[in-house]
Symmetry: C2
Subunit: 525 residues, 2 copies
């Protein structure tokens, strides 16, 4: 096909590759296609990419960790210098506001992630080096091999498949990355790819360290996951597509870290509403409508005891939802899916209090939506009422009592987060523990008096949760160094001669910042 | 059915339960069935067990960790006091020698595991408590929920489903265990169950903390794994059965830690053979024939460069294999499977140098077996030549050169271990790295100048490895506290009030031995 189609990045080269069809992203604010055409790559390109990744991994294994840190830092600097262009592209492809959001929140976060990943690569504490001197046993985590990253639509920077958290984690652990761009922001991804390939060249890293394709057929996507040259994958996105890829990975016994869906239940205990109703309305509405609700951690299910304060709370939320102009959705597909999910919920008996329809005009938008059911309704059909309505829609469950709330929580699928608002004066303390204990089993992060939409990049963060929030309840996708462990294998060195050990297991540590567990004691440096 | 059928342990009660058929184990030394009859439980019993496990877990969550430690220690003491009976039973069901093995190796190891698990439960360092004070974020691992343990046939004590490593790990992390006894040693398991239930009562633990069934239909086994009340499972055993259960667990997104098969390649580099041929023959033969080769880490594949020393090595191994009386196999089924695997390998072209047939007499035994192929043969059919011949059989691969050995290693499936023997004088050093680098990617434990059959219970051990050795390359089944992380979920507490936090995340640690990562620094106590 013609020259006006964008190129893929294979083994350090931007090439037309092989494709027989193309796609375009949409500008969701204008409701029209962006002009750039991107190839839907054929298998032959995947084949080249896998070979290059395998060769790159062979090279990677002989490189000291600081080389990966150098690359990540160079890349972060390059992104920072290119900020204006990136913000412009991401805005045109995602509809997300330039400020406050892309330029002043998401881009700084992305830079911080890349730099934190570099620091973790440098100090190597992530390897959890463990030494039993007497038994001559030494173990540590090490790079696992080429990792494929599928990024989501809702964070064109911070979760971008060639610049975001999974990318940074995989590279910092010493693995090449095959980035599969999200189809809703290919041009943003291409720009990152350009900066990544320049940074690879500038820091003399293996040419196959970071490669980029935009889309393949579903069959080729599955074939890519199954290929023995690929060691692991990170996926953030729609549940249906994710589960298909997960099934392939499971069949061949390959780690596949998927973040699939979450409704993020929020419990407002009676004492909290009694104490600070208006503040809670404001706090909830701000979080619920932020970025048109397009966060993995968006509070999409509210649990309240059906009483006068709760009715008042609900009334005020509805009024604020009605009065706010809905934000732009990421794509026509997100709009379509949101409307369909609302339909599923209302068909099942949820009462539509406000919203529920396409918002007027050309841009992708749905009117801010509040739906209501009773606890009894939920109990009758817990499956359907956990349908994720990704976007600016919420399901409010008015329950008979706290025991019903607890019982509903116990029937929930896994979620990324769960929040509990309670009185600061102790009025809810008698019931807190039973609710919190049940909720903590169903979520990766339990919050008190706080909305779940802020995800700090901290070593103590867990952005994860039981299935189907994610595919494994023991790992986090956010926070260094823990997120790197997804892309690592544990290796024990038994009676291996000192000079043959990985540097992190030798007598002298690679850095004075390296934490190691030596004969039962954590020692730094 | 009649009273002479053994009882299952459901929620603290020994009950006849529901069954319509029974089975018996075999005394492999005598080649006859042991007299005790065990029920093949029906679903209704699984249902009761799941309910009891769920209830027990609810209780468990409010118990301090030292209570689990108390139970584990009480149980270890009870086992120690009952040693003679246990050894007698295990000998009659497994054919393993009482000494040296059951009484003086495996039983002490089992006690040590239970006591190490207790110590880990007590100090809580396993939770990896991580605090970010500034962000008010605190994370730790916590109990995951009821765990089903399927133990293997080859360690009636140390991997027993109601006394072994998985059991100890799951309990120490605060989870109830549903033990599915291995069908080859039900009476040994029943005896452990008796001691466990007595220890539960003596330490006032929840009655559903440890429950025991012996066998179910395959359908009910799968239904058990799929049930939402079950949180995770540990499986050690045959690959085919394990993969069926794994597929069920994968479909419902449940952690399933399976140890499936391993041939444990051993590379003898030319310099090592030149230097100490006879010592290596002795070392290999001792390890290869120990317990009739019935270890997960048995060295079942030897890789040598085809030269005069290797031929001599092989000749000597064959002579020793021919001269040694074969050990007793665990069961008629192991004998059958071993003979079938030898057949698969010889049908594919492996040359039988010695052995290969049923050993004379009534006991379960196969003559010590050595098979040989060339590196070229392996390269033509790497799949079939990785068939695990569990028992006293080995496949020797004579390769053209070290490059061919490296290339074969790169084509291997995941294994638990890989060993490299090399010259102590540096003669092999030029080639070591390329071989070791390839091998370390394919195994969980890399050894130097050492056979893989000893698995020390150490914090630095990794008894794990890439698929299909196990189902996840990031976890170990042996060694505390790491093995406990399989039966845990990561939970972050965000802005949660101090008094509501798990004790390990509160300001004062639960013990002066608790390691915690506080604001970037590992601190004890």
């Amino acid at each position: 096909m013609s020259n006006d189609v964008k190129k893929v990045l294979i083994n350090g080269q931007w090439t037309s590759g092989h494709f027989s069809s193309t796609f375009q992203s949409t500008n969701p604010n204008l409701g029209v296609a962006n002009s750039a055409k991107f190839p839907i790559s054929e298998w032959v390109d995947c084949e080249s990419i896998l070979s290059a990744a395998e060769a790159a991994f062979l090279e990677c294994r002989s490189l000291p960790s600081e080389r990966f840190a150098d690359f990540l830092e160079h890349y972060a600097n390059a992104i920072e210098a290119d900020k204006d262009t990136l913000v412009e592209l991401a805005h045109s492809e995602s509809g997300l506001p330039k400020s406050p959001r892309l330029a002043d929140v998401e881009l700084p976060r992305t830079l911080s992630q890349l730099r934190q990943a570099a620091a973790s690569a440098r100090d190597q504490s992530w390897r959890m080096a463990t030494v039993d001197s007497k038994a001559k046993l030494r173990s540590c985590y090490q790079a696992i091999g080429p990792v494929c990253v599928f990024g989501p639509n809702n964070f064109p920077f911070a979760f971008n498949s060639i610049a975001g958290g999974d990318f940074a984690s995989a590279i910092a652990a010493g693995n090449p990355v095959i980035a599969k761009a999200n189809s809703s922001h290919p041009e943003t991804s291409e720009r990152f790819g350009l900066l990544a390939s320049q940074s690879i060249a500038a820091t003399s890293m293996p040419t196959g360290l970071a490669q980029l394709i935009y889309r393949t057929s579903h069959e080729d996507g599955e074939r890519l996951i199954a290929d023995p040259r690929l060691a692991a994958a990170g996926y953030t996105g729609a549940r249906s597509a994710g589960l298909k890829l997960k099934a392939v990975a499971d069949r061949v016994g390959k780690p596949f870290y998927a973040e699939l869906s979450s409704v993020n239940p929020v419990v407002f205990m009676p004492g909290a509403l009694q104490e600070r109703l208006e503040a809670l309305v404001d706090e909830y509405v701000t979080s619920g409508l932020m970025a048109a609700g397009q966060f993995c951690t968006n509070p999409g299910m509210l649990l309240l005891v059906d009483n006068a304060e709760s009715k008042k709370f609900l009334e005020m939320v509805v009024a604020k939802y009605a009065a706010s102009t809905p934000g732009t959705l990421l794509s026509p597909s997100v709009e379509r899916t949101l409307l369909a999910s609302i339909q599923v919920l209302t068909d099942a008996g949820a009462k539509l209090l406000v919203g529920g329809s396409k918002f007027e005009g050309v841009r992708c938008a749905v009117s801010n939506t509040v739906m209501q059911i009773s606890g009894d309704q939920f109990a009758k059909d817990p499956h359907v009422f956990q349908t994720e309505a990704f976007g600016n829609a919420v399901l409010v469950i008015l329950c008979k009592d706290l025991e019903q709330i607890r019982s509903i929580i116990r029937s929930l699928e896994g979620n990324l987060t769960g929040s509990i608002y309670s009185s600061t004066k102790g009025d809810d303390d008698a019931s807190y523990l039973a609710i919190a204990d049940a909720l903590a089993q169903r979520v990766g992060r339990l919050l008190n008096d706080k909305m779940p939409t802020g995800v700090a990049v901290s070593s103590a963060m867990n952005h994860g949760g039981p299935y189907p929030a994610t595919s494994h309840p023991g790992f986090t996708a956010v926070g260094f160094p823990a997120s790197m462990l997804r892309f690592a294998k544990l290796t024990c060195f038994d009676n291996v001669r000192e000079e043959r050990l990985p540097s992190v297991l030798q007598h002298n540590p690679p850095s004075d910042k390296t934490w190691r567990m030596i004969d039962g004691t954590w020692i730094k440096g």
